[in-house]
């Protein structure tokens, strides 16, 4: 790894662990809400949940809540705050290449995703159990593409929004509807058709479908997987242009 990039990644990883927003939104929020909602519908297979155990349905869904929180809240606020306060100018003036900062965010975002998801599964395992993965490669592919897509969206939002406050406002405004409609809220079968139509094309809904369906053996979700791959490609292209990656 380039030495400047290595120094940035090490510093950013340390800073992540000291950031209350990260600890709250990326680590605590998905775990707490998964524990609450995962237990709300019992553990008996339910038609509303495609005849699977509702707890398992939510365990499989909540990995994408972590990914969404990182891409829609953590990274935009972090980057916009740096830009607003002149931190990025200082890094640039000190000789850090512009691409190194964006690359560091990509690495830190993906590393945080892995750690937060591992923690979520570690908490879920003794409480609800971890559902059997029916189609490993599709789940892993969807997870990886989704993580890249949302880190790209996060870097893009952080490079466009003018301040930390605006990033927080916009990030939360996108995150909560996405979370309720596409990942951690009620299952699509109990939603009205209008709400289902709104929820369907949201990136977090597509990602959740692409992870949950092959995981629980409900389908292949190939369409969602292709869509999330396209979102990843587009987000990375735009994020790269904005940050000279």
């Amino acid at each position: 790894m380039n030495r400047a990039l290595g120094r940035l990644v090490r510093a950013e990883l340390k800073l992540m662990t000291r950031d209350p927003l990260v600890l709250t939104f990326v680590f605590a929020f998905p775990i707490v809400t998964m524990l609450i909602i995962g237990g709300a519908f019992g553990t008996s297979p339910d038609p509303a949940f495609d005849n699977v155990n509702p707890s398992h349905w939510y365990v499989a869904s909540y990995l994408t809540v972590v990914i969404g929180a990182i891409g829609l809240v953590m990274l935009p606020v972090h980057l916009a705050s740096y830009r607003e306060r002149g931190v990025m100018r200082r890094f640039a003036a000190a000789g850090f290449p512009r691409w190194s900062f964006a690359m560091a965010q990509l690495i830190v975002g993906l590393a945080t995703t892995l750690v937060a998801c591992a923690l979520l599964l570690a908490v879920a395992a003794p409480v609800y159990g971890i559902p059997t993965v029916h189609d490993w490669w599709r789940v892993v592919a969807a997870f990886a593409l989704g993580a890249v897509a949302f880190v790209g969206i996060g870097v893009l939002l952080g490079s466009v929004l003018p301040s930390a406050r605006s990033a927080q406002a916009v990030g939360l405004l996108i995150f909560f509807p996405s979370f309720l409609l596409g990942a951690g809220g009620p299952p699509p079968h109990v939603m009205g058709s209008a709400v289902r139509h709104v929820a369907g094309p949201l990136p977090l809904t597509l990602l959740t479908n692409a992870v949950r369906e092959p995981w629980l053996g409900l389908g292949t979700a190939t369409g969602s997987l292709i869509a999330i791959a396209a979102v990843a490609a587009v987000a990375m292209v735009f994020a790269s242009r904005r940050t000279a990656l």
Partner: protein, 338 residues
């Protein structure tokens, strides 16, 4: 001497030039911020960019560092073009930027590790030199204004830069912290480091700079050593005192108004003010001693760089035209404006 400095892209650039700027122009939208600026900084100098807010000082140094792309002009910094060779140039420059910060939760020692390249100096030694050893484990957000500026200086010097750019270095610092920072800049100078100092504090420029460029509306109004600028634009010293007796002797007023270099004598009751060049101070003092009195409230104002800057930025007709009229009893103002 840097071998790269021999590589010139600007006609007339000399091998000891660290920064050469010709015809720099930069606009933000329709607002022109830097307008045809020329600048030379030679190795080992401390050069000040002075002027009011909005004069284009910060934009100029940002272009020199390659942080902004000029609209027009030729720049050569340490032999590199800051636009096309920014990646090679930036590691050679140590900078303290105006209105920039570090991540709030980054600790002092971590900041030093983060910014240190392979060729970096001993960070602990620098922290000790700038009185930050006790704050090594403190988060950036917990540092005082003076400590932050000293940390920025540590980071600016960490990688043995050939050029140090300091932008509003002591803004917001208390007088003691300002003196500490000035002492640090003087140590840099003694070590032969070239410094480009952006400031609107004229006492700072006068105390630190070998040469000062005064800017207004993106142009250089004048440049020179602080003494040269003072002599050119603020040559009026003033000496004032209150006559200890009940009536000021007319012969004394007559004598004071005619001493060498005097340009104006002003009288307000028993209060007398004589304005003129610096030599006037000595002649007025001698006159007072000859007349047998040294007033206890004798006050001397020597022209400063701030006077020169104010005169440059807000030029007025010479108010103190040399008039040596004999003072008349009862005149409040003699030899100048009423």
């Amino acid at each position: 001497m840097c071998p790269r400095c021999l590589v010139t892209t600007i006609d007339g650039m000399k091998e000891f030039d660290v920064v050469t700027v010709r015809g720099l122009r930069k606009a933000y939208g329709t607002r022109t911020v830097v307008d045809g600026l020329d600048l030379d900084v030679r190795a080992g100098e401390i050069v000040g960019l002075a002027g009011a807010n909005g004069a284009g000082k910060t934009t100029t140094v940002e272009c020199i560092q390659g942080l902004r792309k000029p609209d027009a002009g030729a720049l050569n910094v340490l032999g590199y073009d800051p636009v096309s060779e920014a990646a090679q140039l930036r590691p050679l420059i140590g900078s303290q930027l105006q209105e920039s910060a570090l991540p709030d939760r980054l600790r002092v020692a971590e900041a030093v590790q983060l910014f240190a390249t392979r060729s970096a100096r001993d960070g602990d030694e620098l922290l000790e030199q700038f009185g930050l050893t006790a704050r090594r484990r403190s988060a950036f957000s917990s540092l005082s204004g003076g400590e932050r500026q000293r940390l920025f200086l540590v980071l600016a010097l960490l990688n043995r830069p050939r050029l140090v750019i300091l932008d509003e270095l002591t803004q917001g610092l208390d007088p003691a912290a300002r003196r500490d920072v000035w002492a640090a800049v003087r140590r840099l100078h003694e070590a032969g480091t070239t410094v480009l100092l952006v400031t609107h504090e004229m006492d700072e420029a006068e105390a630190l700079c070998d040469r000062v460029l005064v800017m207004r509306a993106g142009r250089v109004l004048d440049s020179g050593t602080p003494a040269e600028l003072v002599n050119r634009h603020a040559h009026h010293a003033s000496i004032s005192f209150t006559w200890p007796g009940e009536v000021i002797p007319i012969p004394l007023l007559d004598e004071l108004s005619q001493v060498d270099g005097a340009r104006q004598l002003e009288r307000d009751g028993l209060r007398v003010t004589v304005r003129g060049d610096r030599g006037t101070i000595a002649y007025v003092g001698a006159s007072l001693v000859r007349n047998g009195t040294v007033p206890t409230d004798l006050n001397v104002h020597v022209p400063t760089l701030e006077d020169a800057l104010l005169s440059l930025l807000d030029p007025e007709p010479d108010r103190y035209a040399p008039v040596h009229a004999r003072p008349r009893d009862g005149d409040e103002l003699v030899g100048g404006l009423r």
